[in-house]
Amino acid sequence: MLADAKLSHTAAMILQAIHAGQIYGFSVMQMTGLPSGTVYPAMRRLERDGLIVSKWEQQSIADAEQRPPRKYYRLTRNGRATLEAAYERYPLLEKMIPSPEVEQA
């Protein structure tokens, strides 16, 4: 997907949440306030469009904490560029979900 492709507000919020460090599906839900039936399908679409990638946590880490491994998500270069473009369309996005750089500033 091109960086200037138009994102829906939901997709932009999810991208921003992942950018802000919420890398698990449930934490994205918590941060955005979107329900699970919306977040996971949206994340699958974003993954298919190449804006985010998912990876399973290492089994050894999960075993050490005696829990099942979780799937985490991160932005791709395309995803980051698309999010930058989305800030123009949704100027309040950064204020709603502050990214680490903004918080540090």
């Binding site: 839900m29 039936g37 399908p41 099942p68």
Partner: protein
């Protein structure tokens, strides 16, 4: 604590139930992710539980159903018909179901076919009969003289609970503000509607006067749905008659085309010539006269030394087409073994034993095809017979038998042939037929056609000439080691070695 544990357990069950809705290929990944997130959610310390609704494990698990629904739709969108083509059992089922729906829609669009499909509107129609002097085939035309009807009203009280007469004739009906129109008016005894026991047709006026009950279609066609019509007086052949009600078209299912019913009191009816012929409808008394289950029953009458026979024909049999279709179904079932071999082939038991569900799926698919073909043929034959020939129900019966029987026979043959050409495991159509062997070597070897399952489940050998050692088609199971040779062989197979 207990409440939280109970909620978590229920959420886990929910997530696993939702995973069953996800397509097989995506299921493990989704179940794993949901379960991991749910585990995380259930093990957050109580003081760190976030306030959002989805922080509740149960709420989260209900969201999984939405996810599953989206995944299912997404896959259908992505695969489209090509996905169904590769899984041709699903495509076959979808095509048959679509054909059945189309036939049903056509049936409802054609008034005659719709009436034949719907149940009779008359209450207790099991004891409702039409009396005919011309047998089953002649029941569609008026055959009973008025004199006979009048005698039966008094003589046959032990046989019939109630008996009514009607005779359709063309009459000119004139209303002041409307033009005179020629309608098929059935002059009837005033108990006809009561005998039919229609759910709700309120009649204006009293039984001592002649009353006209107009059919809905005549009311629409000739009087433009004028609401002032009911209660007004019309002129019928010089007689003033009040319109007492409008009869829904679906309520008149008896023989004869009727635009209006002219309910007459017995004195007016008695003034008609005694040899006037009409239809006689009766409610039989079950104690003296068991309902004619086989369709009709003969009634013998001896009067003045002359013996005459009349047929009491069940209205349900005369108008209800399921009996005719069932007869065609029986004929087709009996004729099927004469036209094609019934065995589906030789399918040897696998060493690794297929799961029961895989075997059951094959038989369920076969039965579903039979059920759908029967429904399609029933609806299509009803469309043809009653939709196009609704004016003559007896002709329609013959047309339905004539269309349903060959269609069922053809359909059943196709079902068996289609089933033989499918892989018993994945139910896909076998492909790439190849001729194997030579006819000249038939004595020492076999020659015939070989087809294979694109998923590598096995090969089907169909002999060119049935022999004592190779009489019917034979399925050869292939184990998992062969899968890499086949184009679709990577997908997991139930019961794989």
């Amino acid at each position: 604590m207990n409440r939280r544990w109970f909620g978590s357990a229920l959420a886990r069950i929910n997530v696993h139930a939702a995973s069953l809705l996800v397509p097989h290929v995506d299921r493990p990944s989704w179940t794993r992710e949901w379960t991991a997130e749910l585990h995380h959610l259930c093990h957050v310390p109580e003081d760190e539980v976030p306030e959002s609704e989805d922080a509740n494990p149960l709420e989260f698990s209900f969201g999984a159903y939405n996810d599953a629904f989206w995944i299912r739709c997404d896959r259908l969108r992505a695969d489209g018909l090509s996905g169904l083509r590769s899984g041709s059992a699903g495509r076959c089922g979808l095509l048959l179901a679509t054909a059945a729906c189309a036939a049903l829609l056509i049936c409802f669009a054609l008034p005659g076919a719709r009436n034949a499909l719907l149940l009779l509107p008359y209450r207790n129609s099991g004891d409702l009969v039409i009396i005919s002097s011309r047998g089953y085939g002649g029941a569609q035309s008026p055959s009973i003289a008025l004199a006979d009807y009048e005698e039966w009203t008094t003589d046959t009280a032990n046989l019939y609970r109630e008996i009514a007469f009607y005779r359709p004739t063309i009459k000119g009906v004139h209303l002041a503000q409307h033009d005179a129109v020629r309608l098929s008016v059935a002059q009837a005894s005033d108990n006809l509607l009561r005998l039919l026991d229609l759910p709700a047709v309120p009649l204006l006026g009293d039984a001592s006067e002649s009353r006209l009950v107009l059919s809905h279609s005549a009311w629409v066609a000739h009087y433009y749905e004028d609401p002032q019509m009911v209660g007004s007086t019309v002129d019928i052949d010089g007689r003033a008659v009040r319109i007492a009600a409008i009869l829904p078209d679906s309520d008149w299912r008896l023989p004869g085309k009727v635009d209006a019913l002219l309910l007459e009191n017995p004195q007016v009816l008695a003034a008609l010539p005694s040899q006037t012929r009409g239809f006689v409808v009766a409610r039989i008394r079950n104690s003296a006269f068991p309902p004619p289950r086989g369709g009709w029953r003969r009634m013998i009458e001896t009067r003045d030394g002359v013996t005459r026979g009349f047929d009491c024909i069940s209205v349900r049999h005369l108008l209800g087409q399921p009996f005719v279709f069932l007869f065609a179904l029986l004929l087709a079932s009996l004729a099927l073994p004469a036209t094609t071999a019934l065995p589906l082939g030789d399918y040897p038991r696998r060493r690794d034993h297929l799961p029961v569900s895989v075997n059951a799926r094959r038989w369920i698919f076969l039965l579903a095809k039979f059920a759908l073909v029967i429904v399609i043929v029933d609806l299509c034959s009803t469309d043809i017979a009653y939709g196009l020939y609704s004016s003559d129900p007896v002709t329609a019966l013959y047309i339905q038998i004539a269309t349903a029987f060959p269609a069922l026979l053809f359909g059943f043959r196709w079902i068996l042939q289609d089933q033989r050409k499918r892989c018993p495991e994945c139910l896909r159509l076998l492909s790439s037929p190849a001729r194997v062997g030579q006819a000249s070597c038939n004595f020492l070897s076999w020659n015939g056609t070989e087809l294979f399952c694109v998923r590598g489940h096995g090969l089907l050998h169909i002999p060119e000439l049935p022999t004592s050692w190779f009489g019917t088609q034979r399925w050869l199971c292939l184990d998992a080691s062969w899968r890499s040779l086949f184009p679709d062989g990577c997908s997991p197979s139930p019961g794989m070695v």
